[in-house]
Amino acid sequence: MPKRMKLTRPIGQFTVGAWVLLAVTVLIPIFYGIYISFLDIKLSSFLPPQFVGFDNYVAAFKAPETWATLKITLIMMVVGMLVQIPLGMALALVLHRNLKGSKIFSSILITPMLLTPVAVGLTFRFMFDTDLGIINWVLGFVGVENINWLGQQSTGIFAIILVDSWQSVPFVMLLLVAALGSISPQLYEAASIDGATARQTFLKITLPLITPTLLVVVMIKIMDFLKLFDTLFMLTRGGPGNETTTLGLWTYKTGFVFLEFSRAAALGVLIMIITAPVYFLWRRSTKENK
């Protein structure tokens, strides 16, 4: 038997279980989702489904809600990442210095990550309440009149990003602390001997070496924002009107409120197509780094 076959056969056998699990939990649902996006399945109709070609995709592209909710998703994504990644990195850099009290500080910081998004959303909904919320109560001391946080698009989006950031920054921080820990201290020693400033050290050593992790963080955050649901649902339910409805929430509404499963499947496929380039960019960058 050739040497190559001897090596690959047992490996193939060992991964069969993983492939089966992957197929059942991921691949079959994806392909089934794609399949039903070409049918006209409605939960309220018991008629046999008909093949409708690209009708659901055409309807999705024509619907103004698709573009409006995509725009809201992108706004939340960009603003959210601009808040969460720098903040997570700043906290990671502080923790990496192992200053006194760092362990207690990091334990406290990761607490929000341990809470369920539904509970967090509900708690913050009370905190943002216009009449009784603690946020307006505190602002009242500095003369700010009651703000209708969840009743307007701009403040609603702000509130959602704030709550999501409160839960997500510790996650970003933890990944970056791990990345910083993997950088050899000798590199910093060499830079110090060469007289590099803190800014130069950060830009020339730290940043390039944590870039692969940063890309992972960016990719995870993009996917997180595309599937943002629990917090958003508890805080605003996509309101007022549809003004804080993301593409993910719109897909949910199409499927489970309008009972239009095939239309929702088409929107799901579109979300997958939007996410795909991010994945391929990440793959390419990790290959380049290797």
Partner: protein, 420 residues
Amino acid sequence: MLNSKTIRRFAGLASVSLLLAACSSGGTDTEASGEINVFLIPSPSSTSIQSFIPDFEKETGIKVNVSETPYGEAHQKQLLSYQQKAGAYDVAQFDNTYLMPFCQAQAMLPLDGYLADSSEYDIADFGQSQQDYGKCNGETLGLTLSTEPMIQWYRTDIYEKLGLKPATTWDEYFNNAKKVQADGHGGQIIGFGPNVSWWWMTMVWSFGGKLYDDALNPTVNSKEAIAATDFLKKLMTVSPKGAATANSDEVTSKFLGEDIGAMINYSGYYGSVLDKTINKNEGKIGTAPMPVGAVDITHLAGWNIGVPKDAKNPDAAWKFLEYVLGKTNAKKYLESGAAAIGRRSITTDADLLAKFPYLAQLEIPSSSRIERYPQIAVWPEFEVAAIDAVTQVLNGKSDSTKALNALNEKLKPILAKEPK
């Protein structure tokens, strides 16, 4: 080989069996037994139903299994089960808004045969509007599990102090709210948040408008609908700021927990009035009919409960419904905390009226036109579009004429999808 005599005997036996089977199905004379699976949606009605189970099981020997599913997924789960003809449930609670999708899917068993034979349920004890509440295409697919007209709630202490009376017209209602607000309270509250459609359509009907005509053409941009939407916006000026995002539950908790003069909401929330953890204004809550606009309408809502067509034990299911919702246990059902069912024998009972004064509002005069949630399968999509448009008006992003014209256009393809 079978001879002709054996074949004749077998055919005769089969005919008798079939005849017996036919006689035993659908009637009420047979002794129901066995086991039933009851699908409920968490609510005071569900809690009350469950309180009857131990006695029912003891009296009939029928075992009752209950599964509760939250509202957000309850109807979807039921539809999936009915599509698969799984026979998973023998009794199912559902919102009246889903009557039409269930009807179109032919998911529920018509109960008219059972109703005709049941003196215990006594359908004649209900007013016509209540008898029709669970009907679709002339068939009763669900019994009334709660009768919840939208009514006027007011703070008796504030109204007495300011010499106000519950409003009979919308103008009066607004003026009352203005006076209450000027006295330093919240004028009134309705939900301008995710359920704004409930109040908006009530206003549209009350102002003489319709959401769509008989040919299913949208009519939400009529002058009546525009006036109704403008009035809704006007009401915002006499509401606490928090009303802008409040859903129906929050509207109730704000009215009962804060200092607000009046509220328009479903009568089914009276259970919260009796709950001291929610109601901080005990003994100060009055109820009155909803103010009248250009047309006297009653917006009637509430739960239904029925027997799915694929139920494995429909006779036992009916027996259970008859036991819980029949005349004998009607008082007990109400006193166990459920939202009231508008039986005449209940709404006119002097003892009950003393304890639950709101029952008087459940006696809907025949002069008042009953309006229910639109009985169309595309209602969820219609509603989301309407909420979006009305919110644009309330937020000042658009004027009512422009927003409702756009909504009317948007609703055309949605209503066109309604199965004829």
